[in-house]
Symmetry: C3
Subunit: 427 residues, 3 copies
C-alpha cells in the first residue's frame, strides 16, 4: 500500500548506506537525493575556516578505506561493511601495533555486546575503530595492522534550504540534521519525514505562512545557519520545530522550548493531547539537539521538538542497532500525521473578534433549531462556547483549550460564523 509512511521508509532505505558526516561527499550525496524529491531546494557550501560565532567551519573529511588486519592477516574490521566501524573524522593511519596499543583506539559497548557504537571526534585530530564488544573480547595478543585512508583538508560544509512562500512573510521554521552515518531513527527518520512534509506544505492551497526548511549537519550546522540568518529568523519565525527521532512506533515525546508556551509549544501539545495517547513530556533540561542553539539566550527562537522515542532514551541510540528494523512505515506515518496536524493547526490558528455585542440571534440565520429542547440546547452550546471566547485576544488554539475540544472541531464553526459575518479575523 502506498502510504506516506511507506514512501518515507523507502527514502530512509535509500539514504541508509551512505557514509555521512558533518562535511563531505556523503552529506552531498544525501542532499542530492533529497533535492531529487524537492527540486526547488537550494544546496549551499560554506568554506572551511568560516567563522560562526564562537565556532569555525572545520576541514572537510572524506574516508576512502579503513580496516584492521589481525595477526594472521584477516580483515577483522572493515569500513566497507559498516560505516560506524570508523570514528568520525579519523585521520589517516597505516601502522602495525600491539593489541594493547590498538585497544586505546577501539570503542565498544560492554552493555550491548553486539552493537557497533557511533563515535566521532570532529574537533580533535585522532583516529579510532568501533566494533561489537563480543568481537573485541575475542581479540588475541599479537601484531595488528590498522589502515585508514582519509582526507581531512580545507573544503566546505554542505547544507540545503527550502523556502516555501505563503501569503504572509511570517515563517514556520523546520530544522532537521543529516550528518549521521547509517542510523535510522537518529537520524534518517528526520530528514525523510521533512521531505514528505515539504511536499505536503507545497500543496497547501492559499498557504498562509511561509515555511523555511533546512537540512543541516547537527550543532555546527545550526550555529552556522544562525550566524548567517539570525536577524531574519528573529523577525519572521513565529513557530519552529527541530525534527528528529520520528521513525519508531513507540509513544510520542515533546520537548519544550526554553521559554515554553510559544505558539510552537501550544500547538504541539494541543495536537499531541488530542491525537495520540501516552505522551512523554520532557523538560528543556533534557534537550540535546539543534533546539539547544535555537533556544539559546539572545537567539530565543520559538522552537520545540515533537519526537517518537527521544534520542538517548532507547538502547539502540547511537549504535548500529538503530537500523532500518528499528523504524517502520507505521511509525513514520504516525509522526507525519502529527506534524501535518500541527501545520494545519498553525495555518488555521487565527484570532477572531465578534462583530456585535451579546450572543447573535442564531435562529434568524438558520444556525439555531426552531424548537428549543434539552438536546438542541447542548448542540448550540458548542458554537456559543467558541463565540464567547472570540475576544480579539485568544487565538484559536487557546480557545480550543478553553473549550476543551480539538482545534480541528472548530474550523467549520469559525468559517460558518465568518460567512454569517458574526465574527472577523483580527490576526
Amino acid at each position: 500500500m502506498k502510504t506516506i509512511g511507506n514512501e518515507t521508509y523507502k527514502l530512509c532505505e535509500e539514504l541508509f548506506p551512505i557514509n555521512r558526516s558533518i562535511t563531505g561527499d556523503g552529506l552531498r550525496e544525501t542532499l542530492a537525493i533529497i533535492k531529487r524529491e524537492l527540486p526547488r531546494i537550494k544546496i549551499h557550501e560554506i568554506p572551511s575556516g568560516t567563522k560562526c560565532f564562537d565556532w569555525t567551519i572545520p576541514k572537510e573529511w572524506n574516508l576512502r578505506e579503513a580496516y584492521i588486519l589481525d595477526p594472521e592477516g584477516n580483515k577483522i574490521v572493515d569500513f566497507k561493511e559498516n560505516n560506524l566501524h570508523v570514528v568520525g573524522y579519523s585521520v589517516s593511519i597505516d601502522k602495525s601495533l600491539s593489541l594493547s596499543e590498538l585497544n586505546r583506539h577501539l570503542y565498544s559497548l560492554a552493555k550491548f555486546p553486539d552493537a557497533i557504537p557511533y563515535i566521532t571526534s570532529y574537533y580533535g585530530e585522532t583516529w579510532g575503530f568501533c566494533l561489537p564488544h563480543s568481537q573485541r573480547e575475542q581479540l588475541k595478543d599479537g601484531k595488528y595492522k590498522v589502515y585508514i585512508d582519509s582526507n581531512l583538508k580545507d573544503g566546505s560544509l554542505t547544507y540545503a534550504e527550502l523556502l516555501i512562500k505563503g501569503k504572509c512573510e511570517q515563517e514556520i521554521f523546520l530544522s532537521t540534521y543529516v550528518c549521521h552515518p547509517s542510523m535510522a531513527n537518529d537520524n534518517l527518520s528526520g530528514p525523510s519525514l521533512i521531505t514528505y512534509l515539504a511536499k505536503y506544505i507545497q500543496k497547501i492551497k492559499n498557504r498562509r505562512y511561509s515555511y523555511r526548511i533546512i537540512f543541516i549537519p547537527e550543532t555546527i550546522g545550526s550555529i552556522m545557519y544562525l550566524s548567517k540568518n539570525i536577524e531574519h529568523l528573529k523577525k519572521y519565525v513565529v513557530a519552529g520545530f527541530n525534527v528528529t527521532c520520528v521513525g519508531d512506533n513507540n509513544n510520542y515525546s515533546y520537548l519544550p522550548s526554553r521559554k515554553g508556551k510559544t505558539l510552537a509549544d501550544k500547538v504541539a501539545l494541543h495536537v499531541l493531547k488530542h491525537l495520540v495517547h501516552n505522551i512523554k513530556e520532557y523538560s528543556f533540561l533534557d534537550r540535546g539537539s539543534d533546539e539547544r542553539q535555537y533556544n539559546y539566550p539572545g537567539v530565543d527562537l520559538p522552537v520545540c521538538s515533537v519526537m517518537r522515542t527521544k534520542y538517548g532514551e532507547f538502547d539502540e541510540y547511537h549504535t548500529s542497532l538503530d537500523n532500518l528494523a528499528y523504524i517502520s512505515p507505521d511509525g513514520l506515518n504516525g509522526s507525519y500525521e502529527v506534524y501535518r496536524k500541527i501545520i494545519e493547526s498553525i495555518e488555521n490558528n487565527y484570532t477572531y473578534m465578534l462583530n456585535e455585542l451579546c450572543e447573535p440571534q442564531l435562529g434568524k440565520r438558520g444556525l439555531y433549531p426552531t424548537v428549543s429542547t434539552k438536546k438542541t440546547h447542548a448542540i448550540v452550546n458548542n458554537m456559543m462556547n467558541f463565540l464567547v471566547y472570540c475576544d480579539g485576544k485568544l487565538d484559536l488554539v487557546e480557545i480550543a483549550e478553553k473549550v476543551k475540544t480539538p482545534i480541528w472541531d472548530l474550523y467549520d464553526i469559525a468559517n460558518g460564523l465568518i460567512s454569517n459575518k458574526l465574527i472577523k479575523i483580527v490576526n
Copy 2:
C-alpha cells in the same frame, strides 16, 4: 413562623399559576405583583421591532385558549389545566388531523413519563402541544381536533427595574428573569428571592453602594437591557449576580464570570466557603442563563451566579415537575442568607491603609492584655494578622482569605482599629 423563606415561598405560590412568556399579559401581571411588594420599581415597555444588537424585540404573544379533542370529542389536553401544555409562542390553529399528523406537533419525555415538558419557539412561527409521555402513549388512531386561540402581533416586551441609591455611584447589579410559566425553581425562586433581597437592601443604613435590580425575560431581556444601558453598566457596575434556581434545599452551586476573580467571584466564593458546605463549582463553560450576555466579550460585566441546584442539573428541570413541591421555604431561606451575606460583605469590603509604620502599641490603647502569656499571644495574633495586610492594596475579602477567617469576623476588628486611628479607609 414568619421567616423570609416562608414569605418568599408565598410569593412563589402567588406567581405560580400565571402564564408567563417573554412578552405578554402574564409577564405584566407578574411584574405588577412584584411592584406591589416594591412600589418604587419602574415598569418599562419596549415596542416590538426595536433593534437590540443582533436581535429584534419580537411580536407580543398572548394565549386565550388551547386544547386537543380526541376522536370521541373528549378534551384530552387543555391549556387551562397547565400552562406548559402549549408550546410557547404557538400561533392560532383550528384543525382536524390524524394522529400521525398530530404527533409531529406533540412533545413529551419518554424518560420522565409523568412530566409535561416546557417547550418554546419564540423566533420560528409554529404551534405545538406538550403532554406527559404516559398520556401520549394511550392515544389511538383517529381524527383529532386541535384548537389554539393565540394572538401574536406587534406589542411590547415588559420589564421592571429598581434603582436603590447608595452613598456612591458604583453599583451592584442583580438580574433575574421572569419569563417561565408555572415552574418553581427555574424560575419563580429567582424573582421572589430578589424581591425580598431588595426589601433588605432598601433598609441597609448608610448604604454604600447603589443597587440596580432588573426583572427581565431571559436572553432577549438581558440583550435588550444591555443595548440600552451598556455604557452606564460598564462604567458603574463593580459586581453583579444572575439570580436563578435558588429554591431547592440541596447543595449550593457557583458559576464564575468569564474572566473569574472579579469582586463578585471573590465574595461569592468566600461567603459560600465559610457559610455552607459542599459547594459545586462549575466552569464558565457550564453557563446557560443571562450571565452569557453579561460576560460576553466587549460587554465584560463582572457577573457570576450563586444557585442551589443549577438549571439543567435536576431531573425536574424545564418540566411540570419543577413545581411548588420541588422548592421549599427552607431552601429559599438558605439562599437568602447567602445573598444577604454576599451583599453585607461587599458593603464592608473596604481597602485599608495603616496610619503608622510598624505594629501599633496595642497596650496603651487597651487593645492588648497587660500580662503576656501564651494564650493572650494567640488572641492578639488575630488582630495583628489583619493589620499586617492593611497595605492599601488588598481589600477586606482578600485579607480574610489571607488570614483564613470569614470576612465577617474582621468587621469589628477593622472598626475598632479605625476608632483608634490606627488604620484608615483608602477605597
Copy 3:
C-alpha cells in the same frame, strides 16, 4: 573538639545566668560580653521617653531582690535562684497578704508542673511571681510576705550594632534579640550564633556585600531601630534574616517574608532544600518575632527566618525548661552551617550574561572531551544547562533551581566560564 558549635555553646553558657530584660544592666552586661568577641561592635543607648512610631522607649528596669516568704518565714521563691521567678518589669512591693490575694499575682503551668513560666508586663505597671505548678499546689493558707526591690525609672534602652563593610553598599541585614532572661533556645542561641557568624563574615575575602548586624531587645528594639534607620534600610538592604531558636538539634524551620520570594527567601529555601532534610515550611501567619516589624506594610524589608524548632512550637518554650540542656553544640553547629551557606550563596549570587550567541565551542578551550561518547555527553550537559540560562536576567540561585542542582555546584563552572571569557557578570 573545638568546633564552632562548641564555641557557640560556651557563649550561651556564659550568657545564661544574666538577668536580661528589654532594658537594664543585664542587657548591658550581655552586650559587653558580645563586644569582647566582636570588638568593632557599637553599643547605643536610647533614652526612656524617646518616640518610635507608635511606641515610646519605656523606663529602664533593674531588679535587685525578690522573694516570697511562706507563713512560717521560709523563702519559698527567690529571684536569686532563677531569674524567671519574677514577672518582668515588676514594680517594688513589700507586703503581707493571704494566699488568695497572693494567687492573683502567681503564674504557673498546670500542663508542665515542673516548669517556671516566663512572664512579662512591660507596658502595664504590676508585679508577679512565676513558679512551678507542683510547688504552687503545695501552698497552704496563711499570711505570705512578698518582697520585690526593683527600680523602674527613666534610663535608656541598650542595643548593639555591627557594620561590616563590603565592596558594595548593598547590605545583608542580620537581626537577633537579646532580651530574654535565662532561656537558651529562645533566646541565647540567636545572639551567640550571630556572634560567630559575624566572625566568619569579617574573614570573607573580597567581601561583596556590607553586613549590618544588630542585637536588640525584641519588638521595641526593632521598632526603635526601624524608626531611626528605615530610609537607609529600605534603600540598601537586599536580604535579611531574623535569627532566633537555632540551638536545638531537631528539624529546620523556614518562615517566609510577607511578600515571599525575596532574595532572602529564595536563598534560604534553596540552601535548606539542598543541605538538610525535613524542613518545616511555615506561613507568614505563623510569624512571631521581629520579622513582624521588618515585614510591616510600608517597611517591607526582605526579611525571613531560618530556625531549628520555631518559638512556640516546643513544650519548653518560654519556660525554665528551655535551658542549656535543651540546646546543644551539634544543634548550633548545624544552624551555623546553614547560615554560613546562605551567606556564601548570597555572596556568589551573580547574574551572568553570555558573551556570544549559541553554545560556545568547548572543545577548542579544553572544556570538552575530544572523543564524544554517551558518558561525556552527560558531563558536558551540566555546564551547558548552566550556560543556557545565563540570560542576564536569572540570578545564580534561580539558575540553580532551574538546573536542579545546589548553587555551590555551579561556582566552579561559573568561574571557569568567566576565565574563558564566555560569560560576564552583569549584576
